[in-house]
Subunit: 367 residues, 2 copies
């Protein structure tokens, strides 16, 4: 089966000078991939020519005349730039000509245009951004990483359902374990939203393991960690900052003098191995989940190597039938998600305080 | 000037076997320190004897018959254990016999008992937990790290005032720079609370530099970063988890075979230097700010080296007159803080919402 992906070649800080070389390299490794390169035609052609890939049948150039800039407000991307590479790329997914879209464009715009073009899956109120972060044994999938700054309890339940389906599809795990990001393991910890989300998760059919803390992301305590987009984004960015600082400090220590440089030499192969293992570029490519189509968001500042990893994520998602799996999971859980939404909504506005009803009681009485 | 500190010797996962050796080592380095060792007398004596420090005049043993366990609920610590080492240690601060208290006891209990015993400074509704995290140029002070899971805009302003006073006192900076933790630099980013906190901060006399993101903690973009306790706690724990994982991976890479171990040998001095520099134990000791007394909270799992650093933080805070500086700053800003609180409260909704009562208030009125 050929996997067809659309590449928003103009997105990101560097546009075609990064996205096109990444695409060229990718199809070398994955000959069953066909890539629709979307954007300003002359710019894409110039890059392909430079890389002697102008005649490569793995590519089709799809012209788009506009570019969503990294600082464009959502409204501009949505209403003014109807022929942007981002929108055209997403349209191709919608029309079934491609199975996933990969873009390094600005997150807010990409999410908004994706929602507008593709629409959300039934049962999903809010799409979320999910990414796989490394742990000693593999990956921890964390969502939401920034699409939703204010979440209600049932949104967190929806994120958990989506994370479950994603990991089940990608990693072949039957019942991935789920954790709720909190500031302590005890049930009484956290704010009202978190406590009520915990109740919904405990009452669900998911393999819910209770509260987890920030350090559990990198311990690999559970397969999927759910949180609101504000918290998730802070955790992600904090990690990036710490990794960068540590990397800089290792360099600084070994670069202090000719002596320390000499000392580093024999250790270099091991240090490089370590560096490769923790290279954040290998974790580039977050999935926008909950849409009627697959969208992979690359870091805006990605280089070609990092962007190639984002394309790989899109490719893997298609190969593993992530979208079908997600749609089926939402369909199967439609009833309980709806109840949870009603529940969450009604309690939110009127009702007495959270935490008083035993888990599941309220939902089942309404069922 | 002698600096007198009370040490809650029974707090933490390891009690006197960690706290007493740390104390003994500390007074060796700081001969102008006098430590009141609070806890079960026999246990403290046994440790002192083992370390041949039973007659050291730098110590006074203060008996306390109870222990706040790490999993004791706040209510138990507050109402049942009135002769706990934690409470007795805090009482000595209140009575002016010591200038700061250092404890590795459980956070919730320590905060609640501190509030009850010491009371908050005028103008402060909610004390916060502040800690210094490393950046390439020094430290970034972050607060709140977990005392307040739901904050209103004016609480974040109060945190900023306290962070300002702390850094001004400890680092001698006239006008420390302040950042508001958010998920983007633009003013329009974040949830309502964050946006309104931004307005209050911009209107204040603080050296406010706008929104910062998670990675700015380790970049050192600003001196002080304010956030609610949920987000701050997740950022802190996530950092701990990542640092531990990276540390484990370095060990694993070099420990793979005799060859890699051999390769590591020449680099060992540099690796050790790096390790020392990023050793999280050196950042142990968070300040409970906003109380009428200085309280330093050590990590519960701290070893003696880490606990010594927490004692050092208490010592430094006393030497630099942190409490006086904080009290003065709150006093000078009383008017504007009050206006902000009124503003923030009225905009919030009117009605008494859940989470508006500061944690511990209800309990302390009953205690």
């Amino acid at each position: 089966m050929t996997v067809t992906l659309t590449i928003d070649c103009m997105g990101g800080d560097n546009g075609p000078s990064v996205t096109v070389p990444a695409a060229v390299n990718f199809v070398r490794l994955y000959p069953d991939a066909h890539l629709l390169l979307v954007g300003i035609e002359t710019a894409i052609r110039a890059q392909l020519k430079k890389l002697k890939a102008l005649d490569n049948p793995a590519f089709t150039i799809v012209p788009a005349t506009e570019i969503v800039e990294m600082d464009d407000p959502v409204e501009v991307a949505l209403r003014k730039k109807k022929d942007s590479s981002m929108r055209v790329a997403l349209n191709r997914v919608k029309e079934g000509e491609a199975q996933a879209c990969v873009s390094a464009g600005n997150t807010g715009a990409l999410m908004a245009v994706s929602r507008y073009v593709l629409k959300t899956l039934p049962g999903i109120e809010r799409p979320a951004i999910a990414s796989a972060l490394p742990n000693p044994a593999g990956y921890t999938t964390v969502l939401d990483l920034g699409a939703n700054v204010d979440c209600e309890p049932h949104h967190l339940l929806q994120f958990a359902e989506m994370g479950h389906a994603l990991v089940a599809a990608l990693e072949g795990k039957e019942r991935p374990t789920i954790g709720l990001l909190n500031i302590g393991e005890e049930v009484i910890k956290g704010n009202d939203t978190i406590k009520r989300a915990g109740e919904l998760l405990r009452a669900s059919t998911l393999n819910f393991r209770g509260n987890v803390e920030g350090n559990d992301i990198y311990k690999g305590t559970v397969d999927v960690i759910v949180c609101d987009g504000f918290v998730g984004n802070v955790a992600l960015k904090t990690s990036e900052g710490l990794a960068q600082m540590l990397n800089g400090m290792i360099k600084e220590e070994f670069g202090r003098s000719w002596l320390t440089k000499l000392m580093a030499l024999p250790a270099l192969p091991v240090l490089m191995r370590f560096k490769k293992r923790v290279d954040h570029r290998r974790y580039n490519g977050a999935a926008l989940l909950g849409l009627k189509g697959l969208v992979i968001k690359s870091h805006g500042s990605a280089d070609a190597y990092a962007f190639e990893w984002a394309i790989k994520r899109g490719y893997d998602a298609v190969k593993n039938g992530v979208l079908e799996r997600l749609a089926r999971a939402m369909d199967e859980n439609a009833g309980s998600l709806e109840r949870a939404a009603g529940e969450s909504g009604s309690r939110q506005s009127g009702g007495p305080l959270a935490g008083e009803t035993p888990p599941g009681t309220a939902s089942s009485s309404k069922a």
